[in-house]
Amino acid sequence: MRLKLLAPLAVFIVICGFLLIGLWRDPREVPSPLIGKPAPAFTLTQLHEPAKTLGPADLKGQVWLLNVWASWCVSCREEHPLLVALGKANIVPIIGLDYKDEITAGKRWLTDNGNPYTTSVVDRDGKVGIDWGVYGVPETFVIDKAGTIRYKQIGPLTAEALETKIVPLIRELQKS
């Protein structure tokens, strides 16, 4: 009889447990179906040299980062110093995807804030962004030597994410 009385309390505690876990999860972080899949192809013009193009096909055989940014993107400012530091460390080529941005504004933004990118390409109408499942700029992808997406960071990079996940992953992928 005592146990029966405790049953509702047990159910209540279990529900509380689920709700508590829910509190700490970020609803903006939607798992990308693209992880483990080949990087969607594109050929886009470069921001600084409009005569030249770049695409994932040109980067095959090396580990690289794709960072989606824009001059209008507020939280891009937040992660930018980290990207600049990563660029200076020269560990990995960082390709910038200037997403739905004005070319002059994009260039000026890089001049003002520092340019960590090996190359930036322009996705004027956001079509490539859609192919990559971009929905919250900034986003950062890690692509391995075979051209497979291995990791996606939604929202600004953090020092913690870089140190604990992204840089170790890059080093591991570079070894293989």
Binding site: P33, L34, G126, I130, W132, G133
Partner: protein
């Protein structure tokens, strides 16, 4: 002079007519395509403002995705193909109606399981109450006492 002006006006009006007709034409097929686009975009979740569908949201991404849907309908894609296109890029999360999979079994079966569980609990409770409520048979002692009180013949009627 006046006649000439009138003739000119008539000629201009006549020349304008086909242009007007050409503009007014595409209602039939376009409205079907537009209705399809609206229906599809109501089924898809906007990832920026997650409690709104692509149809409801004014976020730039939602506008782009609506454009994508219209383009693909114009290109002759079926509804299933367009939904598959969205799922390939944004995952099952874009679907307001999640697919039945091993990971979503609990989600789909949960309400039915709860209903069955609740009903089983109710039946159990009602049965327990009923047996409790049933009057227990009289003991021999009680029967004797009843007989004595009634002054009858040994309580045969009460058996």
């Amino acid at each position: 002079m006046r006649w000439r002006a009138l003739l000119l006006a008539l000629a201009l009006a006549a020349a304008g007519a086909p242009a007007l007709a050409a503009e007014a034409q595409p209602t039939g097929r376009d409205s079907v395509a537009a209705a399809r686009a609206v229906k599809l975009s109501e089924k898809l979740r906007c990832l920026v403002c997650q409690n709104q569908s692509i149809a409801d949201s004014n976020a730039e991404l939602a506008q782009d995705l609506r454009g994508q849907i219209r383009d693909q309908i114009a290109a002759g894609k079926t509804d299933d193909e367009i939904v598959a296109y969205m799922v390939a890029r944004y995952g099952d999360f874009v679907l307001y109606q999640p697919p039945v999979k091993s990971t979503t079994m609990l989600l789909w079966a949960g309400p039915a399981l709860l209903l069955i569980g609740g009903f089983a609990g109710l039946v159990h409770l009602v049965r327990a109450r009923r047996t409790e409520a049933e009057t227990p048979p009289l003991t021999d002692e009680e029967r004797d006492r009843a007989a004595r009180l009634l002054g009858g013949d040994g309580g045969k009627d009460l058996a």
